[in-house]
């Protein structure tokens, strides 16, 4: 169909979203989009969810951190934030989610808030809770592997 004249096209806001998981998780754009729709529908309802019209645009995820741009209709940023905050797990993996900022264009959003996180976490052996463990380190933070799962720590815990 012929696209709409400019004055009548919907206005959008773009949310720069930061993601974090334990090292064993793998996320894709599809699973994140599905979870976002579920979260929005469960929390703000069908009507609110349709109004906010949340779409995942740009999705990058590697080595337990990710960045993405979520598009929401102008005036529904608060609903979008609420829906994002209510995403606790994606395909069974716990996720940490935070909105870094909101912009009026995708380009501004990327330039201002997104900075392609670097590389693969480095494996190290550490002593945690009185025994030897392996940990995956990024900058100053480490995720220590225990038999029951992971524990989040920082360099400070090993000094």
């Amino acid at each position: 169909m012929k696209h709409l004249p400019k004055h009548i096209r919907p206005r959008w806001r773009y949310l720069a979203v930061e993601l974090e998981t334990w090292p064993d998780a793998d996320l894709s754009r599809g699973s994140f989009q599905r979870e976002l729709w579920f979260a929005a529908q469960n929390f703000v309802g069908d009507a609110g969810s349709a109004d906010a019209d949340l779409t995942v645009l740009d999705f990058h995820f590697s080595g337990c951190v990710g960045e993405t741009v979520v598009r929401a209709r102008r005036g529904y940023v608060s609903e979008a934030r609420a829906a994002l905050a209510c995403i606790d797990e994606i395909s069974g993996h716990s996720v940490g989610i935070r909105v870094r900022g909101v912009s009026g264009t995708v380009r501004a959003c990327e330039e201002r808030y997104l900075r392609r996180p670097a590389g693969v976490p480095e494996e190290r052996s550490v002593v945690f809770a009185d025994s030897d463990r392996t940990a995956l380190a990024r900058d100053t933070v480490l995720d220590v592997r225990l038999s029951s799962g992971f524990v989040g720590a920082t360099e400070l815990d090993f000094e």
């Binding site: 334990w22 608060s78 609420a82 905050a85 940490g96 933070v141 989040g152 720590a153 815990d157």
Partner: protein, 231 residues
């Protein structure tokens, strides 16, 4: 604004990691609700740009046991939290001036009423709005949690009882930034200011208790101040 979290071994991230994430998320401070956790607060405060508050959360199934815990930990911790969740415990907590915060009053079978709200105001016991179930549950359990929060909010509002707000994260992944908590709060009927005040209240409480326990404080209105020596 402050957030209050469970640290390893009560939760899945160490206090240092939680403080690191909270600082990145824009919080001014982190309250560690310690049950078994014993983090090195001095080292964490030195390494992170935000305030880290040592708190103890007393968990007991009866008021008698809770009373023992309070007596034990009150002199040691900056903030003393008591987990509610039964009518007897909620009642006990709001009548104890020594308790700073009654946490999760509506969890399990706990309930709240006008008598408790009034007692909480008189004794200065902060009632916690726990947004955790709203963030992490779904379906019927979440509906129930939101309904309970509404009841609690109406009582707290009407009787002007003091309160705090928290998302009760158990790991750095469950931590949510304050603006996200405000958005969630607004969707379930809180005002944005209510959520912000509730998050800021942790910091005010910590500051008050630190002043009261500092060496210069003698009695209300009487403080030891530094002054010039007489010639």
């Amino acid at each position: 604004m402050y957030e209050a979290a469970h640290a390893y071994p009560d939760g899945e991230s160490t206090a240092a990691r939680l403080a690191d994430t909270a600082a990145r998320y824009g919080y001014d401070g982190l309250v560690v609700r310690a049950r078994d956790a014993t983090p090195d607060y001095e080292a964490i405060r030195a390494a992170t740009p935000i305030d880290v508050v040592d708190a103890v959360e007393v968990v007991a199934d009866t008021p008698d046991r809770a009373s023992g815990g309070i007596g034990n930990y009150r002199p040691k911790a900056t903030l003393l939290l008591l987990q509610g969740g039964t009518n007897a415990l909620n009642r006990f907590a709001v009548e104890q001036e020594r308790v700073d915060v009654l946490t999760r009053p509506m969890a399990h079978d706990g309930d709240f009423n006008h008598v408790l709200a009034r007692a909480a105001r008189e004794n200065g016991v902060r009632v916690e709005f726990d947004l955790g179930p709203v963030l992490r549950l779904d379906g019927g359990h979440r509906v129930q949690a939101i309904r309970n929060l509404r009841k609690l909010r109406e009582l707290v509002d009407h009787y002007d009882a003091p309160y705090v707000v928290s998302g009760t994260p158990r790991s750095h992944l469950q931590l949510r930034a304050s603006r996200e908590l405000v958005a969630v709060g607004e969707t379930i009927g809180f005002s944005a200011d209510q959520i912000r005040e509730g998050l800021a209240e942790w910091g005010r409480l910590a500051e008050r208790n630190r002043r009261l326990t500092s060496e210069s404080f003698i009695a209300p209105g009487v403080e030891k101040a530094s002054h010039e020596e007489d010639d």
